[in-house]
Amino acid sequence: MMKIIAKERLPEVLQLLAKDYNVLVPAKFEGVSRFTPYSADVELALEENVLMPPKDIFFPQTEKMYKFKAKDKSLEIEELPVEKEEQLIFGIRSCDLKSLECLDQVFLTKGYVDHFYKDKRDRTALIALSCLQPQEACFCGSMGVDPQNGVGADIQAYDLKDKIGFKAISAKGQEILEKISGLLAEEEVTIPTFGEFNLKADIEGVPEKLQGMFDHPLWADICRKCLNCGACTYVCPTCHCFDIDSEVRGEDGVKIRCWDTCMFGEYTQMAGGHNPRPTKKERVRNRFMHKLRYFPERYKMLLCTGCGRCVVKCPVNLDITAIIKKIKEAE
């Protein structure tokens, strides 16, 4: 038995939850879908995953860290007020849950806790939504993700075509489910079978093989069409590089951190002008090495969930599944 609601009545559930949470739902504006604060006039986009991944909810593209005042030789630091509002994401997909696992590794483990990230993570509940159909560029199945059962959500919601089913996973999820149970019916359901993936990647042995491929001629070949833009890494749910900078006006300043990407030349630009990754080759190599070798070495997991966003958005179709294939086939 599963708790269900007819799809067209889903807004009632969201409306109710919005009393206690800042509810974020997938919605599309001018061709770009992302998690958007719920309101009655937001049109839900549930047919496919959102273009902009949930990472900016936890790790915004630009984040103010603290304020400072510098006068003569004195420096005053002022903490910024912390948000307290409880949030809830409805409709996060399995691949993006996996990406949160990656981000958790980076921001919460190995003896260092990033409190900017942790704070948001702690006050955000997650309702996962299963996928009915893979999109053209999805290959999460090849990356160890089950598109119908996410890991790490508080509630797993199931897309049952005309209905949505809910299953509590965590205690927090149980609590949330109780809040909305008045709207839900109980029914025996069968979860629809998931379609065939159009795109696949055979990752078996790739991290190990890459250990011996730093100087392989493959990089010089595949990098040629890359534009060294930030599209692939900025739409990637797992990419987490940032740069810290300050905005200073007179005596007053704010420290900010902003997304950065290893695809940009400036990323490795040293004081004095030396750049250890001077060309496309080193930059493209780094992106794939980090995703498929360094990250697995450090955290025992890939830094790619198979969400397919970079495949869709790269202006020159530099497709990670094709690169994985080339690595596999390389001599």
């Binding site: 001018e30 593209q61 560029a137 069409k225 534009l227 833009c229 930030g230 900025y234 202006p315 530099l318």
Partner: protein, 301 residues
């Protein structure tokens, strides 16, 4: 286009076999049927990868900048807009003409990739907007010309004779200043500053781009309304007079920002202020904004 594909492959094979060039830049099939990304072919046995079909949008001229300091020659396929891009790079002193073997191909117009994805392989897919408006589908500079030159010239002549299509710009011009401000700020609010629009652009060929010099304080790294607007306007002004309307910036933008509308507004203004001008059609050093003329309008002075 099958015919042209075969001719492309044959010529590429010949140039590589004879050792006249080290590499040939063309297009090949990508992950999906509506993608034909850039291909770099350096062995005669690989020429069969090359294709010419409805999705060869990519402007290959920009890549030639990667070969400036390398030994040997490079062959490149050029559609009409790509040839204008090549001319702009020549005009900007970025390339040496002799280093490149230019293979011109007439262009029937490329199809809209987004629509292709939406309508499916059997759908009736329209040409990309920039191709519907294109006035120069034939290459303007080349060493070889593939296809039927006479037929291509005739087809191109009617396009060239047509008045320029500015209805979208005129629509925008009708807005009040506040409406324009709201429109453009909401568009560029989405910008993630990935710089795909800049990196793909043949007119963006500065050795060091202003947006990469964050230490100077001209533009900060923060993504917010003010920095994004500064970026939007600066990019548009920096390519003004040199934008060859290849539409690559807008196609590359992952955030669906109508970049061409800004570019076209500047092109329209330049045409009205300085007389008719299409960038990259001629290489004669006479640039509307990069050339001094005593008769230039200077009403603001």
């Amino acid at each position: 286009m099958k015919e042209i594909t075969l001719q492309m492959q044959e010529l590429a094979r010949e140039l590589l076999q004879k050792g006249e060039v080290n590499v040939v830049l063309g297009w090949e099939k990508g992950t999906f049927w509506y993608l034909s990304p850039p291909a770099f072919v350096d062995k005669p046995e690989d020429v069969e990868r090359l294709v010419y079909d409805d999705y060869c949008h990519h402007n290959l001229s920009k890549y030639l900048m990667d070969y400036r300091y390398q030994e040997g020659k490079v062959a490149v396929f050029l559609k009409g807009c790509d040839s204008r891009a090549f001319n702009i790079l020549l005009e900007d002193n970025q390339l040496e003409r002799e280093k490149y073997v230019l293979i011109g191909i007439p262009c029937p117009g490329m199809k809209d990739q987004e629509k292709a994805k939406e309508f499916g392989v059997n759908g009736d897919i329209p040409l990309a907007k920039k191709c519907q408006e294109c006035k120069y589908p034939n290459p303007l500079v080349y060493d070889y010309f593939l296809g039927d030159k006479k037929a291509a010239d005739e087809a191109a002549a009617t396009k060239e004779a047509k008045a320029k299509e500015y209805s979208d710009v005129e629509q925008m011009e009708k807005m009040t200043s506040d409406e324009k401000y709201d429109f453009w700020s909401s568009q560029y609010e989405r910008c993630i500053r990935c710089y795909a629009c800049r990196n793909v652009c043949p007119a963006c060929n500065c050795r060091e781009c202003i947006f990469d010099q964050s230490r100077t304080g001209w533009i900060g790294k923060a993504n917010n309304a003010s920095e994004n607007q500064f970026f939007a306007l600066t990019r548009a002004m920096h390519v003004a007079g040199r934008c060859i309307e290849c539409g690559e910036c807008e196609r590359a933008c992952p955030m669906h920002i109508p970049i061409m509308l800004l570019n076209k507004k500047l092109i329209k203004d330049i045409n009205e202020l300085f007389g008719e001008y299409d960038a990259g059609v001629k290489v004669d050093g006479v640039l509307p904004l990069g050339h001094f003329d005593k008769n230039d309008p200077e009403e603001f002075m």
